[in-house]
Symmetry: C2
Subunit: 397 residues, 2 copies
């Protein structure tokens, strides 16, 4: 039987092999601090669970394909708080940011078309693209300047007749970069001048620790070509709810996405009921979470840059740090941390960054760290990582 070449091109999860090393380490009695995954430890607001528990209907029916009107309205209000004026019919509810991304790729690209994405990027962009025959044209960004965009000329040089969109997360996963207003303006100009869509993954928008944040939703002259991908997962620490959204003022685009929404019938009813309450969470909640992550970032970053040779600009957003290490292979380093190193029976697990790049050979000396542990654990993990790295460097001089 035929296995399609497109699904064969979808990469297998690279972290799985490493997780077996972590499992072995734990079997051997080690405590492993996981800095490799973006699963926040922050409490999900009670309002979510209370709303779900209040469900009273006898029958758990399909919700509307476009999403529950109350949830759409709650998201509309959320954006309004940032002076982004979407109408209710500019918003659709999707199964997490994931489905929003997949559907956006299907809608903007035929097989063989391509999308520009700054690398390193969220590796599942690549999986979705491969699954539906879309090529990724990477725009390489580097640790030395904190993973900001290269020049307009360099970006434009990647565009060809099959380029349909620019896609990026802002704040960035895995880099934590927050693009400046000038960068967002540059991207908008490029999109306008080359008739491209801008697919703006803004799921980390509440996690900005210094400087201004410029949403694509605030750039009027590209309103008809901007698609905003959003999700409750990180914002409200509700990853397991799988509630995301697509917002765009382009009616033609939205009508196309709606057809896919109708085909898969609906997004889970109870999760939407919970998500409505999440979007009503007072801004004090988000401010508190923001402060917590900022402090964590500082703890981790300040320890990391103590090691000579580490290249890392302090990231201004998300809850990740990508650092370039003076090692040949970060994969080898991570395996060594898990298999051959501990301090008082404790070690750490960063994520090798190679999987976040489309260009072969890049990222092999980089790691991504997610600061999703409480401050005490994180301080401990940061110290272990620092000493681990120093020890590894001495051993591999």
């Amino acid at each position: 039987m035929n296995i399609s070449s497109r699904i064969q091109a979808v990469p297998a999860s690279t972290i799985m092999e490493l997780l077996t090393y972590a499992t072995e380490a734990k079997k051997g009695g080690k405590k492993v601090y996981h800095l490799n995954i973006g699963q926040p430890d922050i409490k999900t607001p009670d309002e979510f669970f209370n709303a779900v528990k209040d469900y009273k209907d006898d029958v758990l029916e399909y919700a509307l394909s476009e999403g529950m009107p109350e949830l759409i309205e709650a998201i509309q209000k959320y954006y309004k708080g940032y002076n982004i004026n979407f109408n209710n019919d500019d918003i659709l509810i999707l199964n997490g940011g994931s489905e929003a991304l997949l559907f956006s790729m299907i809608a903007t690209c035929n097989e063989g078309d391509n999308i520009l994405i700054p690398e390193p990027f969220y590796s599942n962009y690549n999986s979705f693209a491969k699954a539906v025959g879309v090529e990724i044209k990477p725009i390489t960004t580097v640790a030395e300047n904190g993973f900001h965009f290269p020049s307009k000329e360099e970006i434009v040089s990647k565009i060809d007749s099959k380029t349909r969109a620019i896609l990026f997360s802002n704040p960035g996963n895995p880099t934590g970069v927050v693009y400046t207003k000038e960068e967002i303006q540059m991207i908008s100009d490029i999109a306008k001048e080359n008739d491209l869509w801008i697919i703006a993954d803004e799921v980390y928008r509440e996690f900005v620790y210094e400087g201004d944040y410029t949403s694509l939703g605030n750039i009027d002259e590209v309103a008809d070509r901007v698609v905003i991908i959003d999700s409750v997962s990180k914002r409200y620490s509700a990853c397991g709810a799988r509630i995301g959204s697509i917002a765009s003022k382009n009616k033609v685009f939205m009508n196309q996405i709606l057809k896919l929404c109708q085909a898969r019938l609906s997004v889970p009813t109870l999760e939407q009921i919970g998500a409505i309450e999440l979007y009503k969470t007072p801004s004090t909640y988000l401010a508190k979470v923001n402060k917590e992550y900022r402090e964590r970032r500082d703890v981790l970053y300040n320890e990391l840059i103590k090691v000579p040779g580490v290249v890392c600009k302090k990231p201004a957003g998300a809850f990740y740090i990508v650092a370039k290490l003076p090692v040949k292979s970060s994969d080898h380093f991570v395996k060594w941390l898990l298999s051959n190193f501990d301090i008082d029976g404790q070690t750490v697990m960063p994520c090798p960054a190679e999987g976040f790049y489309a260009t072969k050979g890049l990222g092999v000396d980089e790691i991504r760290l997610a600061y999703v542990l409480n401050k005490d654990d994180l301080a401990n993990a940061a110290k272990i990582l620092k000493i681990g790295l120093e020890t590894y460097l001495k051993l591999n001089k």
Copy 2:
């Protein structure tokens, strides 16, 4: 900006225009019995809601990409009850049967490949296929023989070098057909002889009212090429949970599907927790629901065939009836029912069947009826439909 031709090829929901007729009718004070949608009215088992309400963790985390082990085990046990022996790693949890279908198409077909599907078929098969560039080759089935398969020769004649799979629902949506053991054997033979996958959508398997049911899971010689699509939606009246599954003994296939599952991270946590309990529902629940639907089918069918010229074999499964009417356009008939007809302020809304066919011109004189109303309402609706049809035929002689 580019809108892909593949998404433009996805059909818009045809029922939407008709629903505006229903909305107008209701505004005018009419009661409309909806026989057009497959949203069951049966109570969702309390165990689902109780399990969800019992959730105690502070953080709503991602579940495992492959699905919660307890849910997979519950499904494994469910199949075992039918002598279908899947191992736990033969089963993955998906976002409803919908995602299971989409992923199966991506995995078995490249763009331009095709799948054989008996028509009339669940119309979203077509939407998913178009979205990922897969062609549907319809195998036409007819009301006169209750929508059973045509001859082996006729089916085989549709196969070409790009045919990758045979996909069908059994019991059938929209037809209610339950294929005989001989038919399932014939399909198995065709798949083996032509090296095709069999994608068996068995979401209605508990809704069989007479005769035996043969699952593709029971045909050993094609075990390596069978993919079973399943869902809790209809079985446990939990459409809004969006919990489905893929089961296959083909490890290569399952490893490919797993990559897509990993890309979209997970299926909602709470819904899986609820679904675990659904699969533990005692078989007495399913027997009771089965009896209820059987009685409903009889009420509706017995009324319908009283009208001369109606072609309809009594369907043995699912909760749908497709009937051929002695009308030129069932679309016109349904609009007339909503706009120009009522008995004591009440009317009915069937679903025109044209949208269930891939072959142009077929189904224009057919309707699909879903018997998802309680017996009293359904008896009333059936009478209104009968008289409505008789009146319409007199007016349009």
